[in-house]
């Protein structure tokens, strides 16, 4: 199975936890005409990590880097969920039963249903298990 097409490039940005930082990032991406498809902020005492799926990751990377930000790319996967009670349980159970650990996750609910973005410890394994269990993975081309 070609698992590569399901691996999505997430951009992660190190940010101080103070007013205006997210605005600075969002403004820069807007200026570059980069659209943010999903994002989350993880917070730890004093600093945070902004994680985003964008339509042009390289462009976003170069722009933010030139502004002095600390940037990293991380591989994540996106799973379609039923937008109804029990939807998240179905996906989480597949991973739990397979012994795959979720490092972090965030979700959005769009026009075409709900999507769960996952950062897992074993990406390839997770892709295979999710495919085999009949759930739908979104391809990278959906995002960028």
């Amino acid at each position: 199975m070609d698992t590569k097409k399901f691996v999505i490039k997430q951009i992660s940005i190190f940010s101080e936890n103070r007013p205006g930082r997210l605005a600075a990032i969002a403004h820069a991406l807007g200026e570059e005409n980069v659209n943010i498809l999903a994002f989350s902020i993880a917070e730890a005492n004093g600093f945070g990590v902004v994680r985003a799926l964008v339509d042009h990751p390289e462009k976003a990377h170069d722009k933010l880097l030139s502004m002095g930000f600390n940037i990293a790319f991380t591989d994540v996967i996106a799973v379609k969920m039923k937008d109804q009670p029990g939807g998240l349980y179905e996906v989480a159970k597949i991973l739990g039963d397979s012994g795959i650990n979720i490092e972090y996750s965030y979700a959005y609910s769009g026009k075409e249903g709900a999507v769960l973005i996952l950062r897992v410890d074993q990406v390839e394994d997770a892709i295979k298990k999710i495919k085999n269990s009949g759930a739908t993975l979104l391809e990278r081309s959906v995002f960028h």
């Binding site: 992660s12 600093f47 002095g68």
Partner: protein, 433 residues
């Protein structure tokens, strides 16, 4: 191992201390009897020469400060008359009114002897060519090194500062084996040499640098040694002590303070109490043999610690570690003295963070709280909060170990801390606001 004066340099500590006591006693008697300034000072302090019964009684004597020289400009506290003086040096006065130091012939001899011992201890002597690239003139560096180098029989190349390309040509043509200058000037020489296509390592005979007159670090030593292929030695002194006076020996583990010339104490700058050997505090020096301008318990304002152990080189005289900061920069956090330079030094060894930092001190309840803000370097960010927490913990842990005080660390974005040219303001002390 070659010594300039093996009898003195290897003298057992008890004998050295006995000698120091005798010198101190006669110095105090002389000053009490003949100098109105020192007499009044001792009276104010309610100490009489008869109270000096052992070496540690030096602690009963009053301190001297730079301001004592300024307030008595130019020569009001000299204890020799003008016709006994053979030279003046004048400090630049960058931090206030200039200060004048006068020297009798014996004063110059003691200074030169001190340097002769030091230069010999790093393996220099007859046959060496020592390029003196300290300024000649009112500044003590040039002439001081000049006479020290001549005394050991080396050939002096008195280039003074400036005209760097010519300095490099002469270094090559005359085969300089050592150079005495500031560490930053040596770095400049290295850069200019590279531009000229001269490789100091292979195209010159240079093998030693005697570097001082400004603060520098072990990191800079390593860089100079690796880059230029020489050994870099620290030298210490100020014009009030005569000039550049004390050098490291071949061990490169702190400069030897010759006990027959100077008595060194380390004190707590706030309580003024003496500290144990190895503890960090303010360097306080009494020059035991000085005729024109004696200095008793002179508070230079430099921070260091002292090693009283016998040096592996065989010399019994105490070693003072590299100067680690200025008293003016010291912070007291929960009763513990903290120097920004220690923080800088600790951070330099942690690749995940940059060298720039900011210290914020606050009082939370009854306790002082110190926060150190550091920049996460590019490439050490991995997206995982856990990794970042670990970097922070590592920095906190290392700082706690080196400062002996709990520190909170905040990771900030690269380039976000203020940059300074020259003297930086890295400390925000909200306790005084």
């Amino acid at each position: 191992m070659v010594f300039w004066d093996p009898r003195t340099e290897e003298m057992p500590k008890v004998d050295l201390q006995r000698m120091q006591y005798k010198l101190l006693k006669s110095l105090v008697y002389r000053l009490y009897s003949f100098s109105p300034f020192y007499h009044d000072r001792m009276k104010e302090q309610k100490v009489h020469p008869d109270d000096i019964r052992e070496l540690s009684d030096v602690r009963k004597l009053p301190f001297m400060f730079k301001r004592d020289l300024r307030d008595n400009y130019p020569d009001r506290i000299f204890t020799a008359s003008q016709d006994e003086l053979v030279r003046y040096h004048v400090s630049s006065g960058t931090t206030g009114k200039p200060t004048v130091v006068g020297y009798t012939q014996n004063d110059l001899n003691a200074w030169t002897t001190s340097l002769a011992r030091g230069l010999t201890s790093i393996g220099l002597g007859r046959g060496d060519v020592i390029q003196v690239s300290y300024g000649y003139g009112l500044f003590t560096g040039g002439l001081g090194m000049h006479y020290g180098a001549e005394r050991i029989g080396a050939t002096v190349l008195p280039t003074s500062v400036g005209n760097t390309e010519r300095q490099i040509e002469l270094m090559q043509d005359l085969g300089a084996t050592a150079i005495a200058c500031t560490p930053s000037y040596l770095l400049h020489i290295g850069e200019v040499a590279e531009k000229m296509g001269v490789n100091i390592k292979t195209d010159t005979k240079l093998r030693a640098g005697i570097l001082g007159a400004e603060p520098w670090t072990e990191g800079m030593r390593n860089r100079i040694q690796d880059w230029l292929g020489i050994k870099a030695y620290d030298i210490y002194g100020t014009s009030e002590l005569s000039g550049p006076m004390f050098t490291e020996c071949s061990e490169q583990r702190g400069f030897h303070i010759w006990s027959d010339i100077a008595l060194v104490e380390i004190i707590d700058p706030k309580t003024e109490e003496p500290l144990e050997a190895g503890e960090k505090g303010e360097l306080t020096i009494t020059i035991l043999q000085k005729e024109a301008l004696p200095m008793i318990r002179y508070r230079i304002g430099d921070i260091s610690s002292i090693d009283e152990g016998v040096c592996p080189c065989g010399r019994t005289h105490p070693r003072v570690q590299r100067i680690q900061g200025r008293v003016d920069d010291m912070l007291i956090i929960r009763g513990i003295n903290v120097f920004p330079s220690q923080i800088e030094y600790t951070l330099m060894a942690i690749p995940e963070v940059g060298q720039h930092f900011q210290i914020v001190v606050e009082r939370k309840g009854a306790l002082d709280d110190m926060l150190v803000r550091v920049e996460l370097t590019k490439g050490s960010f991995s997206d995982k909060i856990n990794d970042l927490m670990q970097v922070r913990q590592k920095v906190e842990h290392r700082l706690r170990n080196s400062l002996n005080v709990n520190v909170d660390v905040e990771l900030v974005e690269p380039g976000s801390l203020p940059r300074f040219e020259g003297k930086s303001k890295k400390v925000i002390d909200k306790r005084s606001l």
